[in-house]
C-alpha cells in the first residue's frame, strides 16, 4: 500500500457567511486517479483550489505527502509546482509564445538554464502532440490545442499531482477528445490526478475512485463500478441519470 499523496481531513470552508465546503474527507494515494463530479455550485472547484492553496480553508487539515499545508507563504511556495493545475479557461499567458509559456516555470521557479528549459518544453509539447506550434502565441491556437499547451505547461514543472478543474468544459465538442486522450495517456503513465469533470466516459476509463459532491458535501465516494451501477443516494442517482442521458 502506497502512502496517501493528499489527505483531506474534516475540511470546512466559508466565503463570508456562506459555507462552501462541509466536513470534507478525502484521501488520494500516490498514482491514484480521482474524478469529482456534481452539480454546478456544489464546491468541486473549491476543493481543488484548497488543495493547491488558491483558496484558504478555515478548519480541518490538508496534507501533501505527510506535510500539513498552511497558508504561510513558505508552505504555499513549497507545493506550487509540485501540485500542478489545469484550469477550465486554460489561463495561458497571452503575451508569451507557447514555448515561453512552458519555459517560464522551469526557469524562474526551478532554476533551469534556458537550454534545459527549451529541451524540457519541447519534450512535453511532443507529449501533448503539438511540437509544431512552439513559436505561436496562444491566441493563434484552437481551444483544444490551448488546453494541451496548458497541460504541457503544468507537466514542465514535473508535478507529483495534477489537478484538473473542468478541463474540457470550455471546449467545442470536437476538441474534447484530443484533450481527454492526452489526459488518459498521463493516467496510464501513473500520474496522480484529481479531475473535476462531467465526462463520464473518461471517468469510467481512468478513475480509481469517484466522488460525488452536492451542496458543499461529499455525498458519495466509491469505486467506479459501484458508483455507476449502484449509486447509494437518490441525489447521486438523479445526477447520474441526468448527465448520462444528456
Amino acid at each position: 500500500m502506497r502512502g496517501a499523496a493528499i489527505e483531506i481531513v474534516d475540511v470546512n470552508k466559508w466565503f463570508g457567511d456562506f459555507q462552501a465546503l462541509r466536513d470534507i474527507n478525502l484521501s488520494i494515494a500516490t498514482g491514484e486517479k480521482v474524478v469529482i463530479c456534481g452539480p454546478s455550485g456544489s464546491g468541486k472547484s473549491t476543493v481543488v483550489r484548497c488543495i493547491n492553496r488558491l483558496e484558504e480553508h478555515q478548519s480541518g487539515t490538508i496534507s501533501f505527502n505527510g506535510v500539513e499545508l498552511t497558508n504561510d507563504p513558505a508552505s504555499v511556495a513549497s507545493i506550487q509546482g509540485d501540485i500542478g493545475m489545469v484550469f477550465q479557461q486554460f489561463n495561458l499567458f497571452p503575451h508569451l509564445t507557447v514555448i515561453e509559456n512552458l519555459m517560464l516555470g522551469p526557469m524562474k521557479a526551478r532554476g533551469l538554464s534556458r537550454e534545459e528549459a527549451v529541451n524540457r518544453a519541447k519534450q512535453y509539447l511532443e507529449r501533448v502532440r503539438i511540437p509544431d506550434q512552439a513559436n505561436k502565441k496562444p491566441a493563434h491556437l484552437s481551444g483544444g490545442q490551448q488546453q494541451r499547451v496548458a497541460i504541457a505547461r503544468s507537466l514542465c514543472m514535473e508535478p507529483k499531482v495534477l489537478l484538473f478543474d473542468e478541463p474540457t468544459s470550455a471546449l467545442d465538442p470536437e476538441m474534447i477528445a484530443e484533450v481527454l486522450d492526452v489526459m488518459e495517456e498521463l493516467a496510464r503513465e501513473g500520474m496522480t490526478m484529481i479531475v473535476v469533470t462531467h465526462e463520464m466516459g473518461f471517468a469510467r476509463k481512468v478513475a480509481d475512485k469517484m466522488v460525488f459532491m452536492d451542496n458543499g458535501e461529499i455525498v458519495e465516494q466509491a469505486a467506479p463500478e459501484d458508483f455507476f451501477e449502484r449509486p447509494k443516494t437518490q441525489r447521486c442517482q438523479k445526477f447520474l441519470s441526468q448527465i448520462l442521458h444528456h
Binding site: N52, R53, L54, V76, A77, Q80, G81, I83, G84, M85, F87, Q89, N91, L92, F93, P94, H95, L104, G105, K108, A109, R110, K137, A150, R153, S154, C156, M157
Partner: protein
C-alpha cells in the same frame, strides 16, 4: 487641439491690431530687445522639461512601489496603500511644495541630518510625490484589468509574487498603463509652473521676472501660455502615437 492653437493665434493677432493695449515690441523677434526677451523667456524651457522628466521618472517608480501593496492579500498592506493615495491626493500642490522646501530641511535637521533642499530638488520631490498617488492608481487599474486566472496560473507553476508581477502581470498591464502614464506627464509639466514660487528658474519664473522689468504682463503671459501650449501639444501628440501603437499591438 488644432482649434485651440488657431484660437490662441487669433487672440494674439487681434491683440496686435489694436496696438494701443498690445505692446508687440516686448516680444517682437525682429527687434533686439524683443529677441533678447524671447530668448530669456524660452531659456526656462530646459528646466521645465528637466524637472518634469525627473519628477515623472521618480513618480513612475514610486507609483509602482505604492501600487503593489494595494494588491496584497494582507489587509495591512492594502491600508498602507490607501492611506498614502488618499493623503497625497488630498494635499494641494502649493502647500506641499512649501512644506517640502521650507519644512522638510527642518525635519532633517532635527534628525541630525544636514540635507539642504534647493529649488530644483524641492520642486522635483513635490511633483514626484504628488503625482505618484495618481500613478499608483493607474498601475492599480492596469493590474486589475488582467484577469485573476493569470496570477493563479503563475502561482501554480511555482512563481513567487514578485516573479508573477514581473513576468506575467506587468508585461500585460503595461500597454494599458503606458498611455495614461504618458498623459499624467502633462499634469506634471503644467504643475511644474508652481516651482517658480520657490525660485526655480523655469518658464513661469522667467516670465514673472521679465514682467517685473518690462511692465508688460499681457504680452509676456500670453507668450508664456503659448510656450506651455506648444509643450503640451507635443506631448499629447506623443501620447496619441503611443496609444495607437499599443492599441494595434493588442489586436495581434
Amino acid at each position: 487641439m488644432r482649434l485651440l492653437l488657431a484660437l490662441s493665434l487669433a487672440l494674439l493677432l487681434t491683440g496686435c491690431a489694436s496696438s494701443g493695449t498690445w505692446g508687440w515690441y516686448v516680444i517682437n523677434p525682429a527687434t533686439d530687445t524683443g529677441w533678447t526677451n524671447i530668448k530669456f523667456l524660452i531659456s526656462g524651457m530646459g528646466n521645465t522639461i528637466l524637472i518634469s522628466v525627473i519628477a515623472a521618472a521618480i513618480s513612475i517608480v514610486l507609483g509602482l512601489l505604492v501600487a503593489l501593496p494595494g494588491q496584497s492579500k494582507k489587509k495591512g498592506w492594502r491600508i498602507v496603500n490607501r492611506v498614502y493615495v488618499e493623503l497625497v491626493r488630498s494635499i494641494p500642490l502649493l502647500p506641499m511644495l512649501f512644506w517640502v522646501f521650507y519644512g522638510l530641511p527642518i525635519v532633517f535637521k532635527s534628525m541630525g541630518l544636514n540635507i539642504p533642499i534647493d529649488p530644483f530638488w524641492g520642486a522635483i520631490i513635490t511633483l514626484a510625490v504628488s503625482d505618484s498617488a495618481f500613478t499608483a492608481e493607474i498601475y492599480r487599474s492596469g493590474i486589475q484589468s488582467i484577469a485573476r486566472g493569470q496570477s493563479e496560473a503563475a502561482q501554480t507553476i511555482g512563481l513567487s509574487y514578485a516573479q508573477t508581477m514581473r513576468y506575467v502581470i506587468l508585461p500585460q498591464a503595461i500597454r494599458r498603463i503606458l498611455p495614461p502614464l504618458a498623459n499624467q506627464f502633462i499634469y506634471i509639466v503644467k504643475m511644474s509652473a508652481f516651482a517658480s514660487v520657490i525660485g526655480m528658474q523655469e518658464l513661469t519664473r522667467r516670465a514673472n521676472e521679465l514682467v517685473v522689468t518690462e511692465y508688460r504682463p499681457l504680452e509676456i503671459y500670453s507668450l508664456l501660455i503659448v510656450e506651455y501650449l506648444v509643450l503640451v501639444l507635443v506631448i499629447s501628440a506623443g501620447v496619441r502615437w503611443l496609444e495607437r501603437k499599443m492599441g494595434s499591438d493588442e489586436r495581434v
